[in-house]
Symmetry: C2
Subunit: 491 residues, 2 copies
């Protein structure tokens, strides 16, 4: 018997294919005895285990059979419908191609740049002003790992089985209570839906509330996660401008029937405005009159510096209009993959059903450890400490920007959050890419905010994340950005 | 000042509303000084912190202001657009109602029974033949918690940041290598997409491949997770019958352009057939000619008893037709919430983009611990041991069924998996509910398979899960089912 492996796939699979071809082509006669697996393995220089796997597969499929200790044989009667023609590529009718994907997939292809998929895995330069990540050095990891280890060491049967799709009871209670204290959110634990981060919550809300072609209000500029989910589902994006106070509610569309508005009232992303009460009320009234929902992403409102904390929009909502979102990605760290929605009562069951069909929930271990972390007061203690450190970093950044750029750069949204927006009006938008590369060659990673507009400005805007850098690195980084800026605007 | 709290929401929110109403109604004059927070707290019997939160909120919104140490005052000039009318419910224009949900949500409402949402949280009777859960007592939890604690104690910056949407590299490598060894699956780690269990994988595949109204092939009877996702997206379900060998490939639709077939070739759910080679080839050829994909759910194929293991259908696929799914819910435990897809090369990037938009990935800690668990050989050691124990349970179940029912019950799909199907032809389908209740009153939970058909049979079929019961409980349980059966069929 001459077996030729074709070099494609695992050895086990190659051998399986070769043996099968021998049997089905008739080159091995019905009833013929196969060499022992030991001999086959030696001849083919394969492990005996590989040979046994391939042979077992063919036995299971009815091509070979074992007869006790006397060995393995080709079946006397092959399954009637096993014809060599079924296997010979040359005889196959042509495949239909290209294989089509859904409209959802087709839209995604256009919306999401390939580079975004692994954005956070791409290493930044020595000084990295990336936004959207916390200060890893500040994290209370010893406490966290202790809580995780304790829960992991005593997983009950209930904690091992499918968790409730809304989240484990302990965590929903801890979140409801934390959000009441910290964000003025008023809800019962039943209204909390635990998700795998805020992007999953956004996707779920969009899917549950928006049909293709329907208009949805979006801030301009906006959080890209909103735009992605909306565009992927085929919604029509209705941009409403923002100013220094956030969404310009006077420009909300009066006529069209929008079913949803996606907003960031506590800290407009990316421009940083904090929506004042009058606009909050106007937004709620707009939604109430139109039967629209408001998706409030409260992504980093815990970090505020020179202004008093403003409670969530949800606090003002007395008509069940607001779907509130939060995430541990900014509060703790992103790989925890836990976020939450607070749902108006009538949406609780529909959203739970959607969770059951789209994803049966978040790992119980992280949920339980996070519940312990919140209930033990560790989260709020960490946030107090973290706020002080971020205030220093922010101070260093604002000083450095003032010192290096003076009036040549305008700073937006510095009052809160872990990033600010820097408008460089002397730098045309089409020079942004070259500018980024110049910064990079000087050991600094900067990120442009222009892709966050549906209708981007003509000049370059940078989104400067400072959460993860110490004051000295921040000063040095801004110095280098300035140098890159000078070389760019002079050339 | 007389404040009346209205009893709705948190105290903080109630006080906020009451104070705001005082200011906006003019009952508190512009410039008037508020009682100190200590006095307010005493008068209202609230904690001082609650009072401070409500006051801070109103300061942030421009209704109140602090003047250094002299106290808190009503703003001299309220924001111009803050009119009492904005707040008085009586003056508001009527809300539009009812608020509509999307077509997706509307379909979900019909598809998913409310009871299913918390199915696994509902306690079963003393002897519970629930299917879909592993034998918790067999789990190597000490090893698992040790691996988790070790990883939790040394989370690197990379492990804290956003994980790759496809899964962490260590786990994708471990899965690719495990699936090659155990299931004959041939893939690179790049083709592996880590998901939060198999339901998320099914939903993702359906969303990426199927548009509303398009036909999709489904086994009859079928896994409910397939049917849910397909029906929710609005697909047209094209049932193809199964027999003792699984899907009847000769009855695959010849004319219609189906883009997807959802199948369980290794262990048909729920009837247990193992698809023979000839049918596997026929299914692949059918898909190839139609430009269709095959979604292969390999949910519990690791548990096989009296037949040789059959490799996954994916092993035979040389044209990139098969999307392979697996999950730890059966292999280990459900609350781990980790599953995987093996994607044909051309689908890797589109599916990763979809992950980035729908859910930025699975927690890194569980992924890393699972990689250690697989690479350390613990998974395969556990499965060997577990298979022996399940074989005893299965033996006990088959003996008991034979002893109690003899020819009055037909057993299907007993060769593998953690459940079997029991057809009770003497028991009409419409008596199933009463029968379940009778069993329940005797301390036994049984579950009917009839909802797993698009066109259910006229008699009752039970899906008997035996993974989590010891042989004595199994024997006692079957005895009680028999007693319930007798009382039901005689009455």
């Amino acid at each position: 018997m001459w077996l030729r492996l074709d070099g494609e796939g695992t050895l086990h699979r190659q051998l399986y294919r070769a043996l099968r071809a021998e049997v089905l082509s008739g080159r091995l006669d019905p009833g013929e005895r196969l060499p022992s697996s030991r001999i086959l393995a030696e001849e083919l220089r394969l492990s005996r285990n590989t040979v046994l796997q391939a042979v077992d597969q063919l036995i299971a499929e009815g091509c070979l059979e074992t007869r006790g200790r006397s060995g393995t044989f080709v079946m006397e009667s092959l399954p009637a419908d096993l014809r060599p023609a079924d296997l010979a590529s040359s005889n196959r009718s042509p495949a239909r191609s290209p294989r089509e994907l859904s409209r959802f997939a087709t839209r995604l292809e256009e919306i999401v740049p390939s580079a975004r998929v692994a954005w956070f895995q791409q290493p930044g330069a020595e000084i990295d002003f990336r936004y959207g990540e916390p200060a890893y050095e500040d994290l209370p990891l010893t406490t966290w790992s202790r809580l995780v280890a304790r829960r992991a060491g005593r997983l009950s049967r209930r904690a091992l089985s499918y968790p409730h799709v809304g989240g484990v009871a302990e965590l929903r209670e801890a979140i409801a209570s934390y959000l009441g204290r910290a964000r003025g959110v008023s809800c019962s634990p039943e209204q909390v839906l635990v998700t795998a981060g805020s992007q999953q919550a956004i996707d779920l809300a969009v899917r549950m509330l928006v049909d293709p072609g329907r208009p949805v209000v979006l801030e301009e500029p906006h959080y890209f996660g909103f735009a992605w989910s909306l565009a992927a589902i085929g919604a029509r994006l209705v941009p409403v401008p923002v100013d220094e106070q956030g969404l310009c509610t006077s420009q909300l569309p009066r006529v069209r029937v929008a079913r949803l508005a996606c907003v960031t009232p506590s800290h407009q992303f990316p421009r940083g405005g904090v929506l004042p009460l009058s606009r909050r009320l106007e937004l709620l009234e707009w939604a109430r009159q139109r039967g629209a929902y408001i998706l409030e992403d409260d992504y980093d409102s815990e970090f505020r510096f020179d202004v008093n904390p403003v409670a969530a929009l949800q606090m003002l909502d007395e008509d069940g209009l607001v779907i509130y979102l939060g995430t541990t990605s900014k509060l703790l760290f992103p790989s925890l993959r836990i976020g939450w929605m607070v749902l108006p009562e009538p949406l609780v069951e529909p959203f739970q059903k959607a969770r059951a069909v789209t994803d049966a929930g978040v790992p119980a271990l992280e949920q339980l450890a996070l519940a312990d972390f919140i209930e033990g007061g560790f989260l709020e203690r960490y946030l107090r400490r973290s706020r002080r450190r971020h205030a220093e970093r922010r101070e260093a950044l604002l000083d450095a920007l003032q010192h290096e750029f003076g009036p040549r750069a305008r700073v937006h949204g510095e009052a809160s959050g872990l990033h600010l927006l820097l408008a460089l009006e002397e730098l045309p938008a089409d020079a942004a890419r070259a500018f980024r590369n110049t910064c990079r060659s000087r050991g600094v990673s900067v990120y442009t905010a222009n892709p966050l507009y549906l209708d981007p400005p003509a000049h370059t805007e940078l989104l400067i994340g400072y959460g993860g850098l110490d004051p000295a690195a921040i000063r040095e980084g801004v110095r280098r950005i300035r140098a890159a800026f000078e070389s760019q605007t002079c050339s």
